[in-house]
Each structure stands twice: as C-alpha cells, then as structure tokens.
Amino acid sequence: MSVFAIQLLNALQYGLLLFLVASGLTLIFGIMGIINLAHGSFYMIGAYMAFALSTLTGSLAVAMVLGVALSVVLGLFLEWALFSHLYRRDHLEQVLLTYGLILIFEELRSLAVGNDVHGVPVPSAFGGSIALGDTMTYPVYRLVMSVVCLAIAAGMYLLIQRTRLGMMIRAGASNREMVGVLGVNVNLVFRLVFALGVALAAFAGMLAAPVSSVYPGMGQQVLIICFVVVVIGGIGSVWGALAASLLIGLADTFGKVFFPDYAGIAVYLLMAAILLWRPEGLFRRA
C-alpha cells in the first residue's frame, strides 16, 4: 500500500514540475501563436543557474531568488530582441529561429560550465525523510517541491482569474484578436507573459536540480514531454496543462513500475489515445 502511496507522490511531484514548464509554453502558444522549441532550454538554464549560483552563494534559496530575477530579465530581453519579430511569421520560421536558439543556449552552457553532469545538494533544512507507514520513507525535499508547485499553481489561478493581466491572458488564450480589441497594450501583455513563461520554466529547473542533477540536453527531454502535455491539454489552456501534466506524471511513474522496458513510450501512447479521442486536446474549446 505504501509503495503505491510513494509512487503516487512521485507521480504528483513529476506532474506538477512538468506543469510549471508546460503552463508557460501553452500560454505562449495560445496567446502569441508562437511555437517555442527553446522553451526547454529555459528549464536547463534554470537548473544550471541553481548549480552555479548555489555554489557561489552557498544557498539554494538565494540562488533561486537570484535565478528567477535573472530569468525574468532574460525573458524580457528575448521577447524584445527576437520573439517580438516572430508573431506574424509562419511556423516554419518560428521553428527555425527557436531551433537556432537551442543550439546557442547549449553551446553557451558548454562554454560556461562544460559538459559534465553536476549534482546540486538538497538544502539541509529539507535533507531528511519522513516515515510513510512502518518501513517506507519519503524524502522531505520532494514533498517540498510538490507543495511549492501547488502554491505556484494556486498563485497562477489567482493571477489568471483575479487580475487585469489575467483577464487579458484569458481573453488572449481563447481568442488572440480579442486582446487587441480590448484596447490594451498588446506588446506589454506579450512581453510579460513571455517573461512569466521563462521564469516558470527556469524555476522548475532550479527546483528539480537537487533531485535530477544537472546535465546537458536536460532541456530537450522536458521540452518534448511538455509538447505532449500541451497536445493533451489543448493549446492555450493552463488548466488543460495542469490536468495533462498530472496524467503524464501518473502514466510515466506507473509505466515505470509495471512495464519498465516500455516506460519511455507510455506517455506517447497516452497522447496517441487522446489524439484519436479529442484531436484538439482535453480542454480546448472547439
């Protein structure tokens, strides 16, 4: 029973982490109509920032605060310098440019930190484990991760449902032209949403760094899974992304338990089934 509970917690933790990355991705798709292959790179950059900054400052918490601030700046800069020129281009050019960005980010990472795998220590305050039942334990840090992710999800709910920016996001995700009609500064909304997405992905990377360690190519793995999340959840739907992330967390975790050889394939089969059933995704308004 408690083995099952542990797997469930793992599934939840993985799903929530995916949600942080995928929610930004789906918003950028939905509102700006941009396919951003480099979104996984932000996750990678976050993880490496956690590694570099925590080594530098000696504290993961400080590293995270600094890292989020830096990633917001990065997001604002990239939107201004590159992505704002892509809104009216076709998907092919978006794919091309963001693919180029992946190459740039990966090489810069290689230049700055090298190609080794690095570990990031778990903060000592959360270093222990708690008992689950009589014989099982569960690492505290993983629980903290899930709690933090849930808090962010709740924060996003408030942001989207209760604020003016959130109203524009809702309008934009269901109908891109509407943002313009509302007479708001579209460019500003786009820039903020993009920076938000970058910060969320980077934060997810920082949060995951102590658990997954930090390695080259980690961004692309997450990116492709996040595509699956967006496809299942429906483009532009944050709640679809949440549901899909949790589904994928479950499929992946229990896939590993029951069919270890085919675990990598489980989430894609899930996607295939959803495509047959609802090609527009679970939460996409037809």
Binding site: H91, Y99, G100, L103, I104, G264, L275
Partner: protein, 320 residues
C-alpha cells in the same frame, strides 16, 4: 536544353567525377551528404509541397536503417534488394500508422505531435533490446548486391557505395519531380495553398496528406537503409530529434518547395559543419547565431536568396 538545367547538370557532372580525385575521406563525406540529401528531399515533399511541417521525419529514416541492421545476420550479408524493399515498406507502414494520428492535427499541433511520435520511436530503440538498446547494432557484413549471380557493386568499396548513392539520389530526385507534376502532386500543391478550397472542390484532403506522408516515410526509409549500408552501424541517435531538426534545417535553409533546395541545403549544412568544426569546437554556437540572423533578416532562406540573386543577374526569376 533549357538553360535552367545547365547549372544542376554541371554540378552533377562534378559530383560524378569527384571520386577520381582519390580523396577517400571526402568521397565518404560526400556519400553521407547525398544520403542526407535523399532524406531531405523526402521531407520536402511534406514541408515544401504539401505544407506539412514534420518535426519527426528521422523516425522513418531510423526505421529504414534499423531494418537493414536487424535483417543482417551476425556473420553473413543481407540481400541488398530484398532488404532495401523491406526497409522502404516498413518505414512507409510506420509513416502510414503515425500519419493516421498526426494528420488529425494541423499547424503548431502538427509540429509538436510529429516530434512526439518520433520520440516514441526513439525510445523504442533506446529503451528496449529490439535494436541493441542505446549501444545500437553493427551491420557486420555489408549487404550483398547480387542479382541472379551477378554482383554489380560491392558495399565494402567506398567508391562503389558513392555511385550507388548518387544513382539513388538522381532516381529519387527524378521520381519526385515526376510526382510533383502528376495529378497527385498538383493536388498536394493545392492542399498546401488552400486546404479548405480543395475540400470544397471535392478532394479528400486527408487521404492525399496521408498518401504523401506515407510516401515521404518510405523514401526516408530508403535513405536510412543507405546510411546503415554505408556506415555499417546504427544507433538510436539516427532517429533522435536532433536528426529531425537537422534535416528540417537542410530543407528550410536550402529552400523548401524548390527542386534543388533540399540537396543544396544538405551540402551546405554538412560542409559548413565540417568547415566550422575544424576551426572551433563550438561551431554549433555559430550555426545557431547564423540561423537566428537568417530568420530575422532573410525570410525565405538561402534558396530565396539564391533566387533573388539569380533574378537580378538574369532578369526575372523562374517560377517553381
């Protein structure tokens, strides 16, 4: 002969005579480029001619390569013609099945879903023992090309492989040119231009797209077979998303939807890679920066640039 055929024929002649130079390294490199050119041509049928931006075309390339590797016994040669036919067929069937799923989507969705399905193929070969896991598998003995006791060429000799691949490239090119002029090809062009209108005219658009997707998959399988036959080795990296991105890059930079674009893209990208990687270990950085600059300042890719230059030289471009 129309003047527009002159430059390509001259290039073909150059490539055909090139092995006489005896530079084995470059003969093998050019062989690899020509294999990538076949792969890129197959993708351009989707991207350039049907308007389907597939980011997962390496799956079928890889399936073709693995088909040869799996058909090759440990200490004996697989038959070339039978294994080649099978590689094309298996890749085409995989594309057909995946196509039924991915073609239910369009636009951004399609890009993501093709990528995800290709990743599924990657994990099948990477995580399971089907093809030797992440280590891959050797083709210990190169395929045997004999027909009725006569062996026209030997896959252990790089120059032979070179000409086989060159012949395949020319055949695939001519085949695709013919397809594009055919009623089927014209329907694909119509779908690319305006899908809604094509449906209103009575074209079963989904079936046409599926046929194109299957055909492109089969041709990618052919290229994959050639890769395995040439290199004697397959591993999951052949169907990685990098490979899909790389070939898409060749198509786009060379000029999607132009006859020679994908071939030019394959040559340009691979040669640039060779050139830069001798100069710097971080050549991908420069490639990435170049790509970003090209998209920002040169919409339409290199092919577009070439056309513009040609138009200004000869007065008026040729319509494709």
């Amino acid at each position: 002969m129309p003047r527009r055929h002159l430059a390509p024929l001259a290039a073909l002649l150059l490539v055909a005579l090139f092995p006489l130079s005896g530079a084995t390294f470059y003969v093998e490199l050019t062989t690899k480029i020509m294999i990538m050119a076949i792969f890129a041509l197959s993708l351009d049928l989707l991207v350039g001619w049907t308007g389907l931006v597939s980011f997962g075309h390496a799956a079928y390339f890889g399936v073709g390569a693995y088909t040869l590797a799996l058909l090759s016994p440990k200490a004996a040669a697989a038959g070339m013609w039978s294994s080649l036919a099978l590689a094309i067929a298996v890749a085409a069937v995989c594309a057909l099945v995946v196509g039924i799923f991915v073609l239910r989507t369009r636009g951004i969705y399609f890009i993501m879903v093709t990528l995800a399905f290709a990743q599924m193929f990657y994990f099948v070969f990477h995580d399971t023992d089907v093809g030797g896991g992440s280590d891959g598998r050797y083709v210990n003995v190169k395929p045997d090309a004999s027909i009725l006791g006569f062996t026209p060429f030997d896959f252990d000799r790089p120059v032979h492989v070179y000409y086989v691949v060159l012949a395949m490239l020319v055949l695939v090119f001519l085949f695709l040119q013919r397809v594009l002029r055919s009623p089927f090809g014209r329907a694909l062009s119509g779908i690319r231009a305006n899908e809604q209108r094509m449906r209103a005219l009575g074209f079963p658009v989904m079936a046409y797209k599926l046929a194109a997707f299957t055909l492109a998959g089969g041709l990618a399988g052919l290229a994959g077979w050639l890769l395995a036959a040439q290199s004697g080795f397959v591993n999951p990296e052949i169907l990685s998303w990098h490979q899909s991105g790389n070939v898409l890059l060749m198509v786009i930079l060379g000029g999607a939807g132009t006859p020679y674009g994908p071939i030019a893209g394959a040559f340009a990208l691979t040669l640039l890679h060779e050139l830069f990687s001798t100069l710097t270990t971080h050549w991908q950085l420069w490639l990435g920066i170049s790509i970003v600059l090209i998209v920002l300042f040169m919409p339409g890719g290199l092919g577009h640039l070439v056309r513009r230059v040609r138009a200004s030289l000869f007065g008026g471009g040729r319509d494709v």
